[in-house]
């Protein structure tokens, strides 16, 4: 820090010349009143004038050595401090010989120290704010939930990345909009009223898009400033479409399961009661009724087994127990199981199996269930009189079990979802047929546990082909 200059030598000269000027002027006045000394009086006056001129000259030349007024100092300080320049020259205020200059200099120096400190503080604050803002933004941008901040007029002052993505509106556009511009049009009057009355509010909205209906859950909380005064709102928006879909699937599953449990139970109950009510039923009729009760009980038991498998699959605890399996026998059992269902719908069921089949190490029960599932679907979704073809192909160290039908087929949109748990087609023809939406998920899981896969190809109204492919030499992952 540079100190102020206090040029003592120049001040002493000025003082001496001033005294000399006064002395010469006084001498000239005294001589002027003494007769016959006018000549000396004039000379003294001329000398005083010369001294005055010299004093004036020195004053002009050394203007910076003049005594500045306090106001002047303050004005200079103000203009200095308001300067935007980063590299300001050191402040050079006074070259002052007065003893008071020391006081001024101290004040100025302190002011300058304070000024430098304040500038430093501002820079640190600025830096901290920048870092804080960018940190907060990074954190908010990493959220899956959309966060939008509005001021008291409802205009957006901040939106995170998820907010943009969920609403599919660019942030630059959002920041020029207000919340009313993006609120769904179907938000009820009650909700709007709650919003207007500044009540924390949560509501859901639906948006129809090309990819289907999107469900958003909105919530709004008041935002307060440091004095706890309302300052605007924080809006949260979450895409709950997947959740809604899962809920819908589960509801349908429960509905289906109820139906699947009630139907055989109703039959068992009705036939058993009929047998107990009427004692004059002939023997053949009685036998038929008992058989029906037994077959309905089997159907019920099978469904309960399926439910258990499903719950194991849901819990992720499904495992397989692989053994060397005679394929011929397994395939015969499968075809025997499905043949009556094929007959019931008058389907043309053709079986193409190579004469010699390799032995494979699989979980026979699981593979049987998976294939019965695929064949059962072919029966379910192929209208009466259609074709179902079951082909077994061995090639490239793989064995392929292919089920091809001439059924109602699967639309291109729905094809990627058929192996998802609880998925059921929106096709009315499928809705008319009972199904858990878990059969294909189960078969897919069985294939995966055998390190195999299921392929599907389908065309709407033409038919579908499902292929369960297993590696022949398999180190089985259990």
């Amino acid at each position: 820090m540079e100190r102020l200059v206090n040029d003592q030598s120049i001040a002493q000269y000025l003082r001496a010349i001033g005294l000399l000027t006064l002395l010469l002027s006084g001498t000239a006045v005294v001589l002027f009143f003494i007769e016959s000394h006018e000549f000396w009086a004039i000379r003294s006056l001329v000398a005083a004038a010369i001294c005055s001129l010299f004093l004036g000259f020195l004053t002009v030349v050394k203007k910076q050595d003049s005594v500045p007024l306090p106001v002047e100092i303050l004005t200079q300080l103000e203009s200095y401090s308001s300067s935007e320049s980063q590299n300001k020259p050191p402040l050079n205020l006074v070259h002052w010989q007065d003893p008071h200059s020391q006081g001024w200099n101290t004040i100025v120096e302190e002011l300058r120290t304070l000024q430098a400190l304040a500038a430093l503080e501002a820079r640190i604050d600025e830096k901290l704010t920048q870092n804080k803002t960018s940190d907060d933004t990074a954190v908010l941008d990493s959220l899956a939930e959309g966060v939008g901040v509005t001021d008291l007029n409802g205009h957006f002052t901040f939106v995170n990345s998820a907010f943009e993505a969920i609403l599919a509106i660019d942030s630059s556009k959002l920041l020029k909009s207000s919340i009313e511009d993006v609120l769904p049009s179907e938000v009820s009057a009650n909700t709007i009223d709650a919003i207007a009355r500044a009540i924390p509010v949560t509501f859901e909205s639906q948006t129809k898009t090309d990819e289907g209906t999107l469900y958003f859950r909105w919530s709004r909380r008041p935002r307060l400033n440091e004095h706890c005064e309302p300052n605007g709102h924080v809006w949260l928006i979450r895409d709950v479409s997947q959740q809604k879909l899962a809920e819908k699937m589960r509801e349908e599953f429960v509905s289906m399961a109820t139906h699947e449990l009630r139907t055989p139970l109703a039959n068992i109950n009705a036939y058993a009661e009929t047998l107990t009510m009427a004692d004059d039923i002939d023997f053949e009729q009685q036998k038929e009724f008992y058989n029906i009760i037994q077959s309905e009980a089997t159907r019920l038991a099978r469904f309960v087994d399926e439910l258990l498998e499903i719950s194991r699959m849901e819990a992720g605890s499904m495992s397989i127990n692989c053994r060397i399996t005679e394929l011929d026998r397994m395939l015969k059992e499968i075809c025997d199981k499905i043949q009556p269902e094929m007959n019931r719908k008058a389907l043309d069921f053709s079986i193409v199996i190579p004469p010699k089949l390799p032995q494979i190490e699989v979980d026979k029960d699981a593979i049987t269930a998976a294939l019965v599932n695929l064949l059962g679907n072919a029966v379910k979704y192929t209208p009466e009189g259609g074709n179902v073809c079951f082909t077994v192909v061995v090639e490239d160290n793989e064995i392929q079990f292919r089920v091809q039908d001439s059924g109602i087929g699967i639309s291109e949109d729905e094809l990627p979802h058929v192996f998802e748990k609880f998925f059921r087609s929106d096709d009315g023809r499928v809705r008319d047929i009972n199904g858990s939406g878990l059969g294909l998920a189960f078969s897919h899981e069985v294939a995966r546990l055998h390190q195999g896969r299921i392929n599907v190809s389908s065309e709407l109204n033409q038919g579908s082909t499902f292929s369960l492919v297993l590696p022949l030499k398999t180190g089985v992952d259990i």
């Binding site: 139906h259 009630r262 139907t263 109703a266 109950n269 009929t274 009510m277 009724f289 309905e296």
Partner: protein, 129 residues
């Protein structure tokens, strides 16, 4: 002899209901779904109709709605059977289609006979078969 039309896709269930109704002295015709039942109803008028709710091609509610459009079926008693109990509102079904009773599966054949007897003969009691 009173005649009854049954619309039920579950053949096993339809057979046992028919067996009991025939033994109780009714004439019974069974159709495999709502559409088949509607075709039959177009050809003749039955005294009472029993329908399942969940059927392919035409569901129970649609069948009842179509049936009520036929002049001869304005006052015919309708009974609905369903395995999806909680999803159906008996009040709504009565108001919309004049369905008099909703029987939830599993129901007892005695219950069916009682309801049918009450509607057709004015007697709610079934004393064995």
């Amino acid at each position: 002899m009173n005649s009854i039309l049954i619309a039920e896709d579950n053949r096993v269930m339809a057979d046992v209901v028919r067996f009991n109704l025939v033994r109780a002295g009714y004439e019974v015709v069974v159709a495999d779904d709502g559409l088949a039942a509607l075709e039959i109803a177009n050809t003749r008028t039955f005294d009472l109709v029993i329908t399942d709710s969940q059927m392919p091609r035409m569901k129970g509610e649609e069948f009842c709605a179509e049936l009520r459009k036929l002049p001869s079926y304005q006052d015919v008693p309708l009974i609905m059977c369903s395995a999806k109990g909680f999803e159906l509102s008996a009040e709504r079904l009565k108001e919309q289609y004049g369905i008099e009773r909703v029987l939830l599966k599993p129901f007892s054949p005695r219950e069916v006979l009682a309801v049918v007897g009450e509607r057709l003969n004015g007697t709610a009691v079934v004393n064995g078969l």
